[in-house]
């Protein structure tokens, strides 16, 4: 037996009373059965880390629930005993969101994986937390329907992505995946089962959160700290048969922003995304490598879908107008032939190739983190230039993506940073650079999404006191004993 590692020592401090451990496990077994809960080290270990720079930490127990009633019973028990609960679906986020800050029970929801309903007439689906993008894509396609599939593993959870304000490939058209949520069923930290949206009024009506007060906001963007969402209704959309992707390049971010803003005004794209040269590289250069002088710095793909040839022609005409206008402005815009494989990666979602994070496995360590933000589009340019300085100074590549959300006012702005997780020094270097980038973005009006605790702290430093006070009060109201994913909000 080896000496206790730092991880083990950390864990040892979370359990001080061996008798308590046994009694907790006994209770958990009563709730979910012996095969669905454990305190075994090797099982807990597999939940102690993710792709990100967040330091590994062990939960004390892992529990898998199969029914809503079990979730309720578990939360009642945890609330009574004041044991932290960390909801988990697939663990595919890159913000350490399911790495327990204070031990406790990791609640793995993968067995709750039913597609409860698909209403092809109303374009609504009702799903449980364990439903993966792969499973939903398979089921929806039978009705020729689609959803905003993200650039992530097909095994990732649709529900977790949506309630965490994740984005998908239809974000230019429909906005964030959280904006597609039409109703919710939630177990509160105290064990009560509640519903918000239309399903609260009639149990089988999952079509809309409006016009009721938007109480769904109490569970979206809270990082699993306000309850366990056990079902959501989502809008799903018909699949138009014709796909056309317009691709351009520019020499600088300002020119790219100008083009994206112009094209966004027509609101005709499913997805409007630009990536810096470094993000087009497989792998993303690590450490930093200078871009060749003869290569443009930015590439953009505007994905459009149409029902008829005429519609596609009309969209092409609009795009050509935009392109000509940008040329007339004297920008560096050029039409670009995007590599076929790269285009497939952007349009054939969910994708194993994209989801498999090939970009990040070159070096042993295979770590991935990001400053991932929602940032006003008009500051993308200046923020990118500052990020570039910070990242290059840390010997990291400015592998940045900008995606325009529905409308023109803001979008996703993020950098994907590979690093070697085997090296504490390199991990810290990446963390430091990312947090520095984040501060720049926050100061420019951006806000990080799916934030690790480091980010949450930076958000809160800048937050209006009234906002923070309300946040604390709401948290206290919903979760009086602070059992739900404690520590993640940094409050």
């Amino acid at each position: 037996m080896s000496e206790l590692s730092s991880l083990q020592k950390e864990h040892a401090t979370t359990i001080t009373d061996a008798g308590k451990v046994d009694s907790v496990l006994r209770e958990l077994r009563k709730i979910v059965g012996e095969s669905n809960c454990t305190a075994s080290k090797h099982i807990r270990y597999a939940y102690s880390y993710d792709l990100s720079f967040v330091k590994p930490k062990l939960p004390d127990y892992v529990v898998m629930t199969e029914t809503v009633e079990q979730v309720q019973e578990l939360l009642r028990f945890a609330n009574k005993e004041k044991i932290p609960i960390v909801p988990y679906t697939a663990g595919t986020n890159i913000g350490g969101l399911t790495i327990p800050e204070r031990g406790g029970i990791l609640l793995d929801l993968k067995k709750m994986n039913n597609i409860v309903a698909i209403d092809p007439e109303s374009h609504v689906a009702v799903i449980e937390p364990g439903v993966s993008h792969a499973k939903l894509a398979d089921a929806l396609y039978k009705h020729k329907l689609r959803f905003g599939w993200p650039v992530g593993p097909p095994s990732a959870s649709v529900l977790a992505c949506a309630v965490s304000h994740g984005i998908g490939g239809l974000s230019a058209k429909y906005g964030l995946n959280s904006q597609e949520i039409t109703s919710m069923e939630v177990v509160l930290p105290t064990g009560e089962l509640i519903r918000v949206g239309s399903c609260a009024i009639r149990h089988d009506a999952w079509h809309s959160c409006l016009p009721l007060p938007q109480l769904d906001g109490l569970f979206k963007g809270w990082l699993g700290s306000s309850g366990v969402v056990t079902k959501i209704g989502i809008s799903v959309h018909p699949i138009p048969p014709l796909l056309k992707v317009f691709t351009v390049s520019t020499e600088n971010v300002a020119d790219m922003y100008s083009y994206m803003l112009n094209l966004s005004n027509y609101e005709m794209c499913d997805d409007l995304t630009a990536v810096s040269w470094w993000l087009t590289q497989v792998p993303i250069p690590y450490p930093f490598k200078a871009k060749p002088d003869d290569s443009p710095e930015w590439f953009c793909f505007a994905t459009t879908t149409s029902w008829t040839e005429k519609e596609r022609e009309a969209k092409t005409e609009i795009w050509e107008t935009v392109f000509e206008e940008e040329q007339k402005k004297g920008t560096s815009i050029k039409q670009t032939v995007y590599p076929e494989e790269a285009l497939r990666g952007r349009t054939q979602l969910p994708s194993q190739v994209v989801g498999s994070t090939k970009n990040y496995c070159k070096q042993g360590g295979a770590g991935i983190s990001w400053p991932g933000t929602f940032t006003p589009a008009k500051v993308w340019g200046p923020v990118y230039n500052k990020w570039k300085d910070i990242l290059v100074a840390h010997n990291l590549s400015p592998a940045v993506r900008m995606t325009m959300y529905r409308g023109v006012h803001y979008g996703m702005f993020r950098a994907m940073i590979p690093f070697n997780k085997q090296s504490a020094e390199e991990t810290e270097n990446a963390r430091h650079a990312i947090v520095e980038c984040l501060k720049v973005d926050l100061d420019a009006g951006g806000i990080p999404y799916k934030p690790p605790v480091d980010f949450a702290n930076e958000i809160n430093k800048r937050a209006d006191p009234g906002y923070l006070d309300l946040l604390r009060r709401m948290k206290k109201f919903l979760d009086p004993n602070d059992i739900m994913n404690p520590g993640k909000l940094g409050i």
């Binding site: 590692s5 792709l51 993968k110 095994s155 090939k358 042993g364």
Partner: protein
């Protein structure tokens, strides 16, 4: 003879190329139409992330290497609760993809080296190999029991210990000792006789291929039998004129084709010898117009791809020198040696047979649950998993499930019994034997 069998530590760089993205956890294909299915038998059964696909196993490997996961009974069991089916490997796109089954087996080798592995029931199996040269605790004499009907019918099978023949039928232990699976060698030999092939067996002198020992982490026992077999193959080639080794067992076939290639002498020993699975061999004859079928089998069948004749035969293209992508990059997979179409082509050729596909097929076939030592170590779970596969066949309307592996054959049968399914399980050779026209009209 030197063997290149990696220790866990040697695979550390590969282990750290896993990002933990979890793409490996479900079978998925974009299509269109997109298809989804559970792919990890252990993940489907036990659920916790550690059991789940490559992502979970890599976590275990990292914990072992870092010393954070010391051995205990439960952890050891978790290492062995994996069918090493490579279903997860088929989903992954990262640089450690080509090494995933090897990483899992290297953990087991580490457990054996540390004196804690394998599982108690595996130890019985390995002791049997040492005592009897087979994992079934069967006396050598029993190895030829399946040949009795041939002797009785006045059609004895040639004994290569005494006579020469160009074809060596490597029967395998499961077909020889497992009563329920004896239909496999019996049908195979019957087909060969009908085709007038000049073939022989080693009878009591055949020894285990070593696949099971390798799968459960006992590389020393594997090396012992594999070395002996390679020596025998050379002797058969030099002294008995053997040019072709045919196996009806997916496990033996995989071991001889792939595991034996880890020997420094493999290319030299196997020069002039082709190793081929019966299904591939028969399909070749069929394509040449040398199989003639008579009568009809009005059966609605589905085909179960054994892992060992499917994705385990993938050849991975790796950029070892960093000329194409980067050093050690996984570039692509070559599936040309996987036996996906050959058995299907034969099934479709049998008059009357209607072939329907299960949702999970070919590279995304769902393991029967018997591989990786699971059938021996955790028989109940193996049968339970097989019942899922049986049900999948029933769900597409199949009356019979056909495969080309005696291990799958046995386990799928157990699965059918477990749920009282009416779906019957057959080896492909059984179907062919029923409709194949005899020697008088055929020359191979």
């Amino acid at each position: 003879m030197e063997w290149k069998i990696a220790e866990l530590k040697e695979l550390e760089d590969k282990i750290w190329r896993c990002t933990a993205c979890g793409t490996c956890k479900v079978a998925y294909d974009y299509g269109p139409p997109p298809t989804f299915g559970e792919i990890c038998p252990a993940g489907a059964e036990f659920g916790f992330e550690g059991f789940m696909a490559s992502k979970g196993k890599i976590a275990f490997a990292r914990g072992i290497l870092s010393g954070e996961l010391p051995w205990d009974e439960e952890f050891l069991e978790a290492i062995y609760k994996c069918t090493v089916c490579a279903g997860c490997q088929n989903q992954c796109e990262l640089d450690h993809k080509p090494y995933i089954p090897e990483i899992i087996e290297a953990m087991r080798r580490r457990a054996v080296a540390d004196g804690v592995g394998p599982m108690p029931l595996h130890k019985n199996l390995l002791q049997s190999m040492k005592n009897y040269n087979n994992p079934y605790q069967g006396p050598r004499r029993v190895r030829t029991d399946w040949t009795r009907p041939f002797k009785k019918a006045g059609k004895p099978i040639k004994d290569l210990n005494k006579e020469a023949a160009p074809v060596f039928f490597f029967v395998g232990c499961t077909g020889a000792f497992n009563t329920a699976a004896r239909a496999v060698p019996t049908a195979t030999a019957s087909i060969f006789q009908k085709l007038g092939m000049d073939f022989g067996i080693l009878g009591e002198n055949e020894i285990c291929c070593g696949s099971t020992a390798m799968r459960v982490g006992d590389s020393e026992e594997f090396k012992r039998v594999a070395t002996k077999n390679l020596e025998t193959f050379k002797w058969l080639h030099d002294e008995r004129g053997v040019k072709t080794i045919i196996s009806s067992c997916a496990g033996c076939y995989r071991a001889i084709k792939k595991d034996y290639s880890l020997s420094s002498e493999y290319d030299k020993v196997m020069e002039g010898i082709e190793v081929i699975h019966t299904a591939d061999y028969l399909n070749r004859l069929y394509k040449e117009g040398k199989l003639k079928f008579e009568g009809e089998l009005h059966w609605k069948v589905t085909y179960h791809d054994p892992c060992h004749t499917g994705r385990h035969l993938n050849k991975f293209i790796i950029d070892e020198e960093g000329k194409q992508l980067w050093k050690g990059a996984y570039v692509d997979v070559d599936q040309s040696e996987c036996l996906y179409e050959q058995p299907r082509d034969l099934l479709k050729a049998i008059p009357g047979v209607e072939l329907v596909e299960m949702k999970r097929n070919r590279a995304n076939s769902f393991c029967c649950g018997g591989g990786g030592g699971v059938m021996t170590g955790f028989g109940e779970w193996a049968a339970k998993n097989a019942s899922l596969r049986i049900q999948e066949g029933a769900d597409v309307g199949a009356e019979r499930i056909v495969s080309i592996c005696p291990f799958c054959h046995f386990n799928l049968n157990e699965g059918a019994k477990r749920i009282g399914s009416q779906v019957k399980v057959h080896d492909l050779t059984e179907l062919i034997d029923q409709v194949l026209v005899g020697k008088s009209d055929n020359q191979t």
